[in-house]
């Protein structure tokens, strides 16, 4: 069971207060009507699903009801950072390679 730091409540809380909501940073196209069927399918269904560093969205469902983002390793399950909606991750697969970690 994960121990998740809620960036709004300012403390670690148990996983069963949260719900995972899929890949982070999936933005709805600004002008859906001008999207091709392929672009719309990409927005609806196609996901990165990486093995390793993953940015995903969670909601503190039974706590503050706020959505936030998390960078997590999908193999070790280590949570590397959490950040609020609208913010960008500091740790990415690319930064890890560049930074020489792991």
């Amino acid at each position: 069971m994960f121990h998740i730091y809620c960036p709004y409540c300012g403390e670690h809380r148990e996983e069963n207060e949260f719900r995972p909501k899929g890949q982070a940073h999936i933005m709805r196209p600004k002008d859906p009507e001008s999207c091709s069927d392929e672009e719309w399918a990409d927005y609806l269904f196609f996901r990165d699903n990486p093995k390793g560093i993953h940015h995903e969205m969670w909601v503190h469902a039974t706590g503050c009801r706020k959505f936030f983002n998390m960078t997590r390793d999908t193999v070790s399950y280590e949570i590397l950072e959490v950040y609020k909606m609208g913010e960008q991750p500091k740790i990415t697969a690319a930064s890890r390679v560049v930074g020489g970690e792991k």
């Binding site: 009507e33 069927d37 609806l44 193999v75």
Partner: protein
């Protein structure tokens, strides 16, 4: 039988407290402090079980969680039966009743043993994959016989009378294992102010110190243990949990502990409301793993005959329980610690025949001690075969060349009744491996030590540290590190001193070669519980199984209830030798929770029976109960389904309720609908984005029905939303959708459109809703309200505030039945008052309570959909014929719009919602019936749709249905067919889904 093997003194049992128990129906006695295993050994019980596959007699091998054989059925009543209890971990209590799990007619003379003897050679690993194939139909018959041999113990036939408990805890430091390392760590941390939890699976703290011969500070080690336990108990920040097994290590230092609270006392918790066991859910900042190391038995021929034990178990029984499990002992070992068993045996006054040591020149302190005591040591040799069938009668010994894997020189037969073996020690790494960290081979210690896990520090035996002083030191240092990382400071502490001793280098001793090849020698068991032999592993590698995982799966090595605690490393070593690899090349296996089995009940906890899942009630629930309602589960809600009078069937009750609504007035408790208060200047804009239809023009106190889609264009929810102010709306959702829709709105607001000024708040529980509907609704309501109900002052699809039965209410004139309807909403604390006030006029207006079933009939007559019944996640608003509810020209591309123009959603022949009228008016079609256009075709038939809702309508005087039919909108008047399971083919005509009052005149009166 008296306790023939019990010593007259020593041990940590209380001889003044005699305990009576039965095993396989025979009465025995033991003492307080005994385990069932120690008491059985004290009474000279050799055979405790029969083996799983070959039905060979088996005795007790170990003294702890590693025991593979002594698995018993416990319980003196049917309801309190417990299968598969390890006798070595079961404290003895008065009246304990245990049985062997296998053996017929009894464990001493098992008929299946003959099958095992005769069929044994054919029953190598995987034998069932190679036979019983033809004819295919016979497998079920063969399997019936195979299954007869399945299982160890049995589940009770009655429900569990006990309760179980969960307890959530957070701590700075969790110490798993209260042996020397764990206790040193706890003592170190105790006065720092940190929150500390220390647990141990045994009945009392001390671990190996309870059994050791080594003194601490010159005194028996158990004295130091008592002293530490006393100190820890006095500390409020330290929680001590004996009888508590850490059974699972999970991500981010979450550990589950299983505390046996009453299992040492009786079959069933002796005090009312007492939990039989308790799961502690621990979230620890730091974990110190002090789980020690497990001695391995040596693999030699017939090493499963009762009387074969591991050395440390022999010592434990003698030192801790004052039980010597035999008369004449032979030890076979490759390390010094095996000598301790012989020394203890001799000190107990029994004969040690010899210590057989595979090392050429054993020279450690214990070896010297044994020599001084005159014990014969046979160096460079090993026991390669045990003699005897129901009890060891002798040991065959020969010089051994482990590198060449052969015996050399002459065979010596030693007479004995017990063979104690020690192949070395395996650190108990299980917990550290539960989150996927692979154990790492330590060549020096000939064992796997834990891989790196963040926040976990292994100490003592589990880290392959064995000398007592170093063990204590490692516990201490780990605690210093852990506590300082949590920000606490330490007070100085003096650790006790053990008398150090010189240990000779241990040899790697796994399987002992036999005079015959492994395949021809008597069985050499690796995994006793699953009857996995060295020959079986050899066969697996011969057949091409080269991965250790394959070997394990093909042979079942390690799949028993002991999870291979004794056998896994031996099995790996044998595999490695056969494949010509090293052990680390062969790899370790993955350990999974549980470390030892935990009952389902304990894991379920209090969430069982009446507390399995919440039941949600409305404010009128007690009234419904008193009125005799039958309830329907809708999500977690209990909703009245129908209100039978006298002996009415559901059909009769629903017909009566329907008529009441159509002819007089009915009342429905609609409180379960989700209600969301929406405030903010962008509320209207937001609604227009999440609903399919338009909201820009909705006026004050006006209501509007809305459909909600996901962005794939499929309908997900519906409901009525009311404009309470220019910046204020009240949205209703389906009962099941309430929580999800609130989260859905928040999702869009927080992630996509944070710039919109709008707040969503749930008011589902705040407002109680009672729907009065029917021709008499206005008259009824006018009795108790000051609201002007005149047709033109309070129109259909409007909302009013006013007093109802002296309670402020919001009344919505909307209709889900097609009749004149008022939905009265009041603050829920007053709901019962208002409900009862309406019922004061019950007789005058024929007010009739109705439930969800009647609601379904009435709404279906009007063609109103139920999301989730008439839709299934693959239905668009257009499929429902609800184009009137779609704002195609709204400026914002609302959620779901874009998807409606994909090729598949544009298809003309999509399944569309229609009405069906059966040709035979008496017929009520089956909900879920599949629709075909041609009933004469062969199976597989081309299915064109299905019935989503179907009822008998007392108003229409016939059955009717809603259905999704391919291209249905264009097929009005056509006949479709429903071939049923009993061969009947029903016939129905496609009609409009609105069966009653298509112009909506009844609701507009």
């Amino acid at each position: 039988m008296s306790q023939a093997n019990r010593l007259s003194q020593g041990g940590q049992i209380d001889r003044s407290k005699q305990i009576n128990f039965t095993f396989n129906g025979l009465r025995y006695t033991g003492y307080e402090g005994d385990t069932l295993a120690s008491a059985l050994l004290a009474n000279g019980v050799d055979i405790v079980n029969r083996s799983f596959k070959y039905s060979r007699p088996r005795g007790i091998v170990a003294s702890n969680a590693a025991e593979p054989n002594a698995i018993v059925q416990l319980g003196s009543t049917e309801a309190t039966q417990v299968p598969n209890v390890r006798a070595t971990q079961q404290a003895l209590y008065e009246g304990l009743s245990a049985r062997s799990t296998n053996g017929w007619p009894n464990v001493n003379n098992d008929a299946m043993g003959l099958v095992g003897k005769l069929g044994g050679p054919m029953m190598g690993p995987g034998f069932y994959y190679k036979t019983f194939m033809a004819p295919a139909s016979m497998w079920m018959t063969y399997e019936k016989f195979i299954r007869k041999a399945a299982g160890l113990g049995r589940a009770p036939n009655e429900n569990d009378p006990d309760i179980y408990d969960h307890y959530n805890r957070h701590c700075d430091l969790l110490i798993i294992g209260a042996g020397p390392a764990g206790l040193a760590a706890a003592l170190t941390a105790a006065n720092s102010g940190a929150r500390v939890i220390i647990c141990d699976e045994q009945e009392s703290f001390g671990g190996s110190l309870l059994e050791t011969a080594d003194p601490l500070n010159g005194k028996p080690a158990s004295e130091w243990v008592s002293q530490v336990v006393e100190q820890l108990a006095a500390n409020n920040d330290v929680l001590m949990l004996p009888r508590t097994t850490a059974n699972g290590y999970h991500d981010h230092n979450f550990v589950t502990l299983h505390e046996r609270r009453t299992e040492h006392l009786a079959d069933k918790a002796p005090i009312a409301h007492q939990a039989r066991s308790r799961m502690h859910h621990i979230r620890a900042k730091q974990v110190i793993l002090a789980t020690g190391a497990q001695e391995r038995p040596v693999v030699y021929a017939n090493n499963d005959v009762p009387g074969n034990m591991i050395c440390s178990a022999v010592s434990a029984y003698i030192r801790r329980y004052a039980v010597v499990p035999g008369q004449k002992l032979v030890v076979t070992t490759g390390n010094d610690s095996g000598y301790q068993a012989a020394l203890d045996w001799q000190a107990a006054g029994r004969e040690v025949v010899a210590i057989v040591d595979c090392r050429a020149n054993p020279d450690g302190d214990l070896v010297k001690q044994a020599r001084q005591k005159g014990i014969r040591i046979i160096a460079g040799s090993a026991v390669f075969e045990a003699k005897g069938s129901k009890r060891v009668t002798g040991a065959r010994v020969a010089a051994v060349d482990l590198n060449a894997f052969t015996l050399k020189g002459d065979v010596e037969d030693l007479g004995c009744d017990t063979i104690a073996s020690s192949g070395g020690f395996s650190p108990v790494v299980h917990l550290a491996a539960h989150t996927g960290a692979r154990p790492v081979w330590n060549e020096e210690a000939i064992g796997f030590v834990p891989g790196k896990v963040k926040g976990v520090i292994p100490v003592g035996g589990v880290d392959a540290i064995y000398p007592l002083n170093e063990v204590l030191q490692s516990g201490h240092q780990a605690a210093v590190q852990a506590i300082e990382s949590c920000g606490y400071t330490l007070t100085p502490l003096e650790l006790p001193k053990a008398t150090g001793r010189v240990e000779g280098k241990a040899a790697a001793l796994f399987q002992v070669p036999h005079l015959k090849s492994t395949s021809r020698a008597p069985k050499q068991f690796v995994d006793l519980q699953n009857d996995v032999t060295a020959a079986g592993i050899e066969l697996a590698t011969r057949e091409g199984f080269e991965s250790i995982e394959h070997v394990k799966r093909y042979t079942a090595l390690g799949f028993g209830t002991d999870q291979g605690k004794l056998g896994n490393i031996n099995g790996m070593a044998i595999t490695a030798r056969l494949l010509g690899r090293t052990i680390p090349e062969t790899g370790t296996t993955v350990f999974r929770p549980n470390y030892t089995g935990i009952t389902f009940g304990a894991i379920a906890g209090r969430h069982a029976g009446a507390l399995f899942d919440p039941e949600r009630y409305t404010a009128m629930h007690q009234w419904h109960l008193q009125r005799g309602a039958k309830f329907e589960d809708v999500g977690q809600w209990k909703r009245p389904w129908y209100f039978p009078i006298g002996n009415e069937t559901m059909h009769e009750a629903v017909a009566r309720e329907c008529r009441a609504v159509r002819e007089q007035v009915g009342i429905l408790d609609a409180s379960t609908l989700g209600k969301i208060d929406i405030q903010g200047k962008d509320s209207r804009d937001f609604l227009a984005r999440v609903y399919t239809n338009k909201w820009a023009q909705l006026g004050l106190n006006k209501c509007r029905y809305g459909l909600m889609c996901k962005d794939d264009g499929m309908v997900m929810d519906d409901g009525v939303t009311t404009c309470l102010g220019d910046n204020h709306f009240l949205m209703t959702t389906t009962t099941g959708g309430a929580a999800g829709i609130l989260e859905w709105l928040e999702l869009w607001h927080q992630t996509e459109w944070p710039e919109l000024e709008v707040y969503f708040n749930s008011v589902t529980d705040h407002w109680a809703t009672m729907t009065i509907t029917g021709p008499n609704a206005r008259d009824l309501l006018s009795e108790i309200t000051d609201i002007d109900l005149a047709k033109d002052s309070f129109k259909f699809m409007e909302c009013r505030e006013g007093m109802v039965a002296n309670v402020p209410a919001r009344v919505y004139r909307i209709s889900f039945t097609g009749e004149l309807t008022y939905e009265i909403n009041v603050q829920a604390n007053y709901a019962m008052h208002v409900w009862k006030a309406l019922f004061e006029h019950e007789e005058t207006y024929g007010l009739t309570p109705y439930g969800t079933e009647t609601m379904h009939v009435l709404r279906a007559e009007k063609g109103f959909i139920i999301v989730g019944q008439d839709t299934d996640g693959s239905v668009t608003p257009e499929d429902l014929g609800m184009q009137w509810c779609v704002g195609y020209d709204k400026p914002f591309s609302w959620i779901g719009k874009r998807a409606l123009s994909r090729p598949d959603t544009r298809r003309k022949d999509r399944k569309q919602l229609v009405g069906l009228l059966p040709s035979d008016p008496k017929v009520v079609l089956e909900e879920g019936a599949q629709i075909v256009f041609d009933p004469k075709q062969q199976v597989p038939m081309k299915m064109k749709g299905h019935v989503t809702s179907s009822y008998y309508s007392p108003t229409l005087g016939q059955g009717f249905a809603l259905a999704l039919v391919m291209g249905g909108a264009e097929r009005m008047g056509e006949t479709v067919f429903m071939p049923m399971a009993d061969g009947t083919v029903y016939e129905a005509k496609i009609v409009s889904p609105i069966f009653l009052d298509p112009k909506g005149e009844r609701q507009n009166v």
